[in-house]
């Protein structure tokens, strides 16, 4: 099995430690897959045995109850509270610290919105890191175990140069395509998100961070066969991790490549686990389900900014209530040059790009 790097632009660069799952998985040889397969299934067998040895243990009982619980949206408030207690107990035990699972509902009169100044973004990717830490994303070293919800796309600026002036004209009876045909000059969405610059921003690059756009007409919601993923009343599109069957239909439907699949049990070191969680947000996920950005419900439902907004060193990221004309986002929408990504698909993102 051979592996090739991504687009030529990135070929020369070392894959960063945060290599994206795909390439990494490809690098494994078949034997590796099988070997680690054998080992892990052994260990999971042992895990099962350990559980059976102490049938009274809370975790096993909790998992059993979790398995038969209802879709979160259909739970009564009591059932939600029960589920919450169950999870708090289990996570606290598993991660050796006091974990809270928030079940705060959407607040009336709030519609969350996000705006990003692409002029300002310097491509430092601090938002990516902050997001991983805040939202308990998987950070294993093993291929396929690392999950990042935000991508900062690095795009070539492109150029028009004198020496290419006559390229693209037909020679002899060749096919006519026009002149200078193949230079990207600020082409949208042919970027890379794994880059290792000496310093940011780089001279010849533009950056476009993307993550879940929390579409108003989300194709991912429409295709879900079990209504696991849905739009909350205050805007964000969320996933009930306990109800997702892992059919991955939503991943195919999302035009922004915003969803990630837990190919294996997420790797979340105890000490790195963020204990302040929300049921629909950053609580630890399990194997075989889909996850994505939810605008830090555990923070934003309590009036705080999402982690990426807080951490952005240049203040490119803005967040607020779209229904409140005095909020920062509303003012940006009213006064700046704003656009949405892939507007032709009618997904109506609540994530707006702007520039001054």
């Amino acid at each position: 099995m051979t592996t090739k790097e991504n687009p030529p632009a990135s070929a020369a660069q070392e894959a960063p430690a945060s290599g994206d799952p795909s390439k990494a998985v490809l690098k494994r040889s078949r034997r590796d897959v099988l070997r680690s397969g054998g080992m892990l299934s052994m260990s999971s067998l042992m895990g099962t045995a350990a559980l059976m040895a102490q049938p009274g243990e809370a975790k096993a009982a909790v998992e059993w109850a979790e398995h038969f619980q209802k879709n979160y949206r259909l739970m009564t408030p009591e059932e939600k509270a029960e589920a919450r207690l169950r999870l708090e107990k289990r996570y606290s035990g598993e991660y050796n610290k006091k974990v809270s699972v928030d079940i705060t509902e959407a607040q009336p009169g709030v519609l969350m919105g996000y705006a990003l100044n692409i002029r300002k973004c310097i491509g430092c990717r601090r938002c990516v890191k902050a997001c991983v830490e805040e939202n308990n994303q998987s950070r294993g070293a093993r291929p396929g175990e690392r999950i990042e919800w935000i991508q900062v796309l690095r795009m070539e600026r492109g150029e028009f140069t004198a020496d290419k002036m006559n390229q693209g004209y037909p020679e002899g009876l060749g096919i006519q395509v026009g002149g200078n045909a193949y230079s990207p000059a600020g082409q949208v969405l042919e970027g890379q998100y794994q880059y290792t610059p000496e310093a940011v921003p780089e001279k010849d690059a533009n950056y476009m961070p993307i993550a879940c756009m929390q579409c108003e007409k989300p194709p991912c919601v429409k295709v879900c066969p079990v209504r696991t993923t849905y739009r909350e009343a205050d805007g964000p599109v969320v996933i009930d991790y306990n109800w997702c069957i892992g059919c991955k239909m939503c991943m195919g439907a999302c035009p922004y490549w915003a969803r990630r699949f837990n190919l294996t049990t997420p790797v979340l070191p105890k000490e790195d686990m963020n204990p302040v969680t929300h049921y629909l947000g950053n609580r630890p996920r399990m194997r075989g389900v889909v996850e994505k950005c939810h605008w830090c419900l555990q923070r934003t439902r309590h009036g705080r900014y999402p982690a990426c907004v807080e951490v952005c060193p240049v203040g490119a990221r803005k967040f607020g209530n779209l229904l409140d004309p005095e909020s920062e986002v509303s003012k940006i929408l009213a006064r700046k040059n704003v656009f949405r990504l892939k507007a032709e698909l009618n997904t109506f993102p609540k994530f707006f790009y702007f520039y001054d």
């Binding site: 991504n6 397969g37 295709v223 035009p255 194997r287």
Partner: protein, 410 residues
Amino acid sequence: MLTRFVFDYARYVLKGGTKFYAWMGTLALLIVGMLYVFYLQNTEGLIVTGMTSQIHDGLYLANLVFLVGVAAGAVTIVFPAYVYHHEGMHKVTVLGEMLAISAVIMVMVFVFAHMGRPDRLWHMVPPWGIYSFSSMLGWDVLVLNGYLILNFVVGFWYLYSKYTGKPVNAKIFMPLVYISIVWALSIHTVTAFLIAVNPARPMWFHSMMPIRFITTAFAAGPALIIIAFLIIRNNTKMWIEDSAIKLLTTIVIWCLGLAIFLTLSEIVIELYARTEHANSLYYLMFGLHGLTALVPWFWSSVVLMVGAFALFMTPKFRNDMKLLPIPCAMAFVGIWIEKGMGLIVPGFIPSPIGEVTEYYPTFVEWMMTLGIWAFGFFILTILLKGAIGILLGEVRFGGAAAANPAAAVH
């Protein structure tokens, strides 16, 4: 009487020569392999497959889509038999229904294999779960199950009536047959919709998908049936008439020709304008950014399909029952590649943000795929064998007693 039916049926199926047991044994081995990798997948997660966040559906979905076509293809027997009253075909319709049953079962197993949490499958089934009317996958599962039930009922009712010698109640039976004919179209159409309704994947997002699916289905399905018929003809006492095989051949030729034409139209339209949306197709045909993993697949499928078409066009191949399996196998394999490595996988490349990554199925995936196919053939063999026994009259109510005086004593 029903228990006797099941009993006689099973007893007939279990009897067989070394060839039969060798065949079933091999299949059983592959099934065991499948169970092992399925266990791996469900203890470790889909990480043991070649799937990634970019290309999150691979061989499994590809086979699923292809097999839905094979299942739908059975209608190429049922339709001429019941609507045109084709004599040769009428005798063997039930064999087509058996093929449909096994194909749908394989599809279900592939659905299972491809899910991250098969233990939560019940979430789709009301009243415990939720059924979503907006989801194409929900509809797909619904029509597939419907098709399975229809074929099961129609097929076994017919066999049972043969077995007992009492004719079926045509007033109920015939409407069921007609429903199953229309239903066959629906399963592949809905599967096409499942894929085509995603504007996020420009390669799939066009309305030609359903008709292209139907044409390839009606080429691949009957191609397999022809091969199965020829095997049956040569290995059992069951004789399948030339006229039936000829009609199937004609259907394969026409549908294969249409499929090639539709592919050609798509290529011209996409590549002439060569917008960003043509990238997937371009990647499939020539590679993109130096990555070319699918290129050999695409061209091999083209060679197989066009080659099969050319061979079918030569009377020597078309009419010679010895040579006929060659173009049939070529068409079958060509379409299998076209649906899998030529449609599902490139749909994900480049990803919606323009990333080009390649997909290589792992051993686990190949093993699983092979195992599910083996499972399908296992079921198919059982179904066909029993059905043939009944059609031949070897399994008949009271037949065992009649044939075996020792048993008749008590």
